[in-house]
Amino acid sequence: MTASTLKMKTLSIVRKQIFIPIAALLILVVFNLIADPSFFKITYSLSSDGSPILSGYLITILDNASELAILAIGMTLVTAASGGQDISVGAAIAISGSVVLRVLCGDNPRPEEMQASILTAFLISCLVSMLFGAFNGTLVAYFNIQPMIATLILYTAGRSIAAWINNNRLPIISDPSFGYFGTFFPGIPIPTPIFIAVLCMLIIALVLKFTTLGLYTQAVGINPNSAKLNGINPQLVKFITYVIMGLCVAVAGFIKVTRFSTINYSVVAADIEMDAILAVALGGNVLSGGRFNMAASILGAYVIQFLTTTLFKFNVSSAALPAYKAVVVIVLVVLSAPAVREKIGKLRKKITASRLGKEAV
């Protein structure tokens, strides 16, 4: 009896959406355990300026996945409500990062001291990013343009806009306190981006709990006609998801520029939009909109970073990295495709049915 209830429980977990990223993560963990257990070693040491830091591959993964996890939040909402993806997030990160630097540097690209407080710079970049998000959102929600086409505009223009904001110069912030946000605060051994990512997750968890954003985006994504007749404004809901995406971009852009205290317009956050979309897909969410699972998307982001770091560790050259990644991605995405899952489910049912049949005989 207990065995069978246990079996039922495992079955219900397997059927849950979040099972896919969890399984992927487990496979990666087991693979690393077998290949080299030292992968999981975390060391405690002092940095060059004497403050304590934790280091190790796990910390690197958690640290480097921060931007992606934050973007996955926005991308999940955009996907759910509009049934399409925002491919401009990489370029938009270049813009938001560039704005932060521009506000802090003023006209001089190598200022002795910052021209404004970091908070002011961050808030202004949030505003700018949300405006660009609103631009995308307007095209999608009110002009009914396919999300990929609508955001293609900013995808194409974004990095030039970013360069133009700083007159194509490369500003560098020498004040060390700026770098704290992308590396470590003195005395705290955990990288700051991890805290920022966790904060974002907390916020979205609270928003989903204390507002009806989740229900509205899903209803709009599944059946906008019906949503409208129930008093929801589908255009507004779609629009808002793009503005939220803009906010996520601003936070991710802020982390990116604080990591190096400078920016490279053409390289910063390159191709990150594809990873963000992949995170949503890995989370088992349907890319054509509708139901979503936020936790699964975020976990998907960490799985992607885990994979990247694992590949780096095994000295896969950075040129070959995307190819390796693609292979793994194909397997994961095919396994999580609804059609395949249905087949697997049927197969499992058949096996249990034939077993039951035998027992009955």
Partner: protein, 502 residues
């Protein structure tokens, strides 16, 4: 095993999640007979058809075609074995010609012999007496002819079993007659026809035998002469039918004489192209819009609810002027609206029954007032019980429910908001008799509680049973109003037809 049986299904089982859709169902189709498959929504008719055509794999059971056991795994395989299906919705391509539609996907190799194809199609159309030309674009034919072309296509593929799934629901009477002639012709050629329909008249007109399903079980197989209508209905329902005509009498409302006007519109019109109309409804009143399909009756109620853009008119609610420009405004004033097209405008398919039920109330509570999971579950369970919604749980996606139960979910959604004025546009379309009666009773009960209801139905007798006043629409214009003793079938017909313009 019967000698002349062309198709036999034995002991078919099928379940979805934990819903047992078919349990130990047998079905036999003889050569050259028209066999009606009857049952309420959710009885398992469509599931049985889908198992037969390989859309759903069966869990257990056997299928024999002309005595040989077969295992059909896909619709293509079914077609190869001579089992063809014509669905309610036309599944052909309207922008291709009739001949192309008949041969699409069946030509061998890369090259097409257009001439031969046309000749073959013409011959087929002639032999079946279908009034269409091979070169004609399919979209230019009437719906009935399109359906016949679909049947011709099926017959041309050497079909032994032809399944007609609600083929008559979008046809008018003369078109139905043409279709029946074609069916009888095919029958004389030895084709076995399975006929799925909701219309009892049609069953008794053309069918030889009836198989009745109920709740996934086989009730029985009957010869048509030996099963009077009343018995068929009671077999489908599993109980003696309530006297439908009586339901109005036993709930005479204390509000019947109330003169308190809940909603009043003056010269209302919308972008959907209706002529400005006046309308009002009293507390506890049930009234309705009637008229032919496309007469503007749905557009009127959509204008009341703000579903289409309102371009003129004055609206008074409880005697105070109100502005309703979008559904949200109407909801704030206590108006609920069950839309005509349940699939397109009503349900949110992938969401659970629970989420579908609380949707409207949730929207009224606003963005920052989410209903807690526990509260939502209480609401859902309450209404699942109250309306007797058949669902595995409140977590089941609403799209997996049968049509009647989906309709009840949408009803529950609006009842939960406790509206003072409820608009029901075709709440009984495409659902079984039992649920129809339940819904009609519910409407009268609501009126008895002092709520106002506007009820629209294509079936005039249904309107007569429930409404105390009818607004008649013709060509997007309100052309008359009938109440009291004027409410007779012939009066309504006359007003709709425009013979006697009141």
């Amino acid at each position: 095993m019967q000698h002349e049986a062309v198709l036999e299904m034995r002991g078919i089982y099928k379940s979805f999640y934990s819903v047992k859709a078919l349990q130990n169902v047998d079905f036999t189709l003889r050569k050259g007979e028209i066999h009606a498959l009857m049952g309420e929504n959710g009885a398992g008719k469509s599931t049985l058809i889908k198992v037969l055509t390989g859309v759903h794999p069966k869990d257990a059971g056997e299928v024999f075609l002309e005595g040989k056991p077969i295992d059909i795994r896909s619709p293509e395989e079914a077609q190869k074995n001579g089992i063809s299906t014509v669905y309610q919705e036309i599944t052909l391509c309207p922008n291709l010609t009739v001949a192309e539609n008949m041969y699409i996907g069946r030509t061998k190799g890369v090259f097409t012999n257009w001439k031969e194809m046309r000749a073959g199609a013409t011959e087929m159309l002639e032999s079946l007496g279908i009034p269409a030309k091979a070169e004609q674009q399919l979209g230019s034919c009437s719906i009935a002819v399109q359906q016949m072309v679909a049947i011709a296509r099926a017959v041309d593929m050497d079909c032994k079993v032809l399944i007609l799934d609600e083929p008559t629901s979008s046809l008018d009477e003369s078109e139905v007659a043409k279709l029946f002639r074609l069916m009888l012709d095919l029958k004389s050629r030895g084709v076995g026809i399975i006929f799925v329909t909701h219309f009892l008249d049609q069953v008794y007109e053309v069918c030889d035998r009836i198989t009745v399903l109920r709740d996934g079980h086989l009730v029985g197989e009957y010869e048509i002469e030996k099963l009077p209508r009343v018995e068929l209905v009671s077999k489908m329902l599993g109980k003696e039918l309530d006297d439908l005509a009586d339901i109005k009498g036993d709930s005479s409302s204390e509000y019947a004489e109330s003169q308190e006007i809940v909603y009043e519109a003056d010269g209302l019109s919308s972008t959907a192209g209706i002529k400005p109309f006046d309308f009002s409804i009293h507390k506890g009143e049930v009234n309705g819009f009637t008229g032919l399909l496309g007469s503007g009756r749905s557009e009127c109620v959509r204008a009341i609810f703000g579903a289409d853009k309102v371009i003129s008119g004055k609206v008074m609610i409880d005697g105070k002027e109100a502005r309703i420009s979008k559904p949200r405004d109407a909801m704030k004033h206590g108006i609920g609206y069950l839309p005509e097209d349940r699939k397109r405008d009503g349900i949110v398919g992938d969401l659970s029954v629970r989420e579908n039920i609380i949707l409207a109330l949730q929207v009224m509570k606003g963005f920052f007032g989410p209903i807690s999971r526990q509260k939502a579950e209480e609401f859902a369970d309450e209404y699942i019980k109250l309306l007797d919604i058949k669902t595995a749980s409140s977590d089941t996606p609403v799209k997996s429910l049968s049509g009647g139960n989906q309709q009840k979910v949408i009803l529950a959604r609006w009842l939960l908001t406790n509206p003072q004025y409820l608009i029901l546009d075709e709440p009984t379309r495409g659902i079984d008799i039992g649920t129809k009666v339940e819904i009609q009773k519910l409407v009268l009960k609501l009126a008895g509680e002092g709520k106002s209801v506007t009820f629209i139905s294509s079936e005039i007798d249904e309107m007569l049973r429930t409404c105390s006043r009818l607004i008649v629409m013709r060509d997007r214009k309100a052309v008359g109003e009938l109440s009291g003793d004027e409410l007779t079938q012939s009066n309504i017909m006359n007003t709709i037809a425009g013979g006697d313009n009141k």
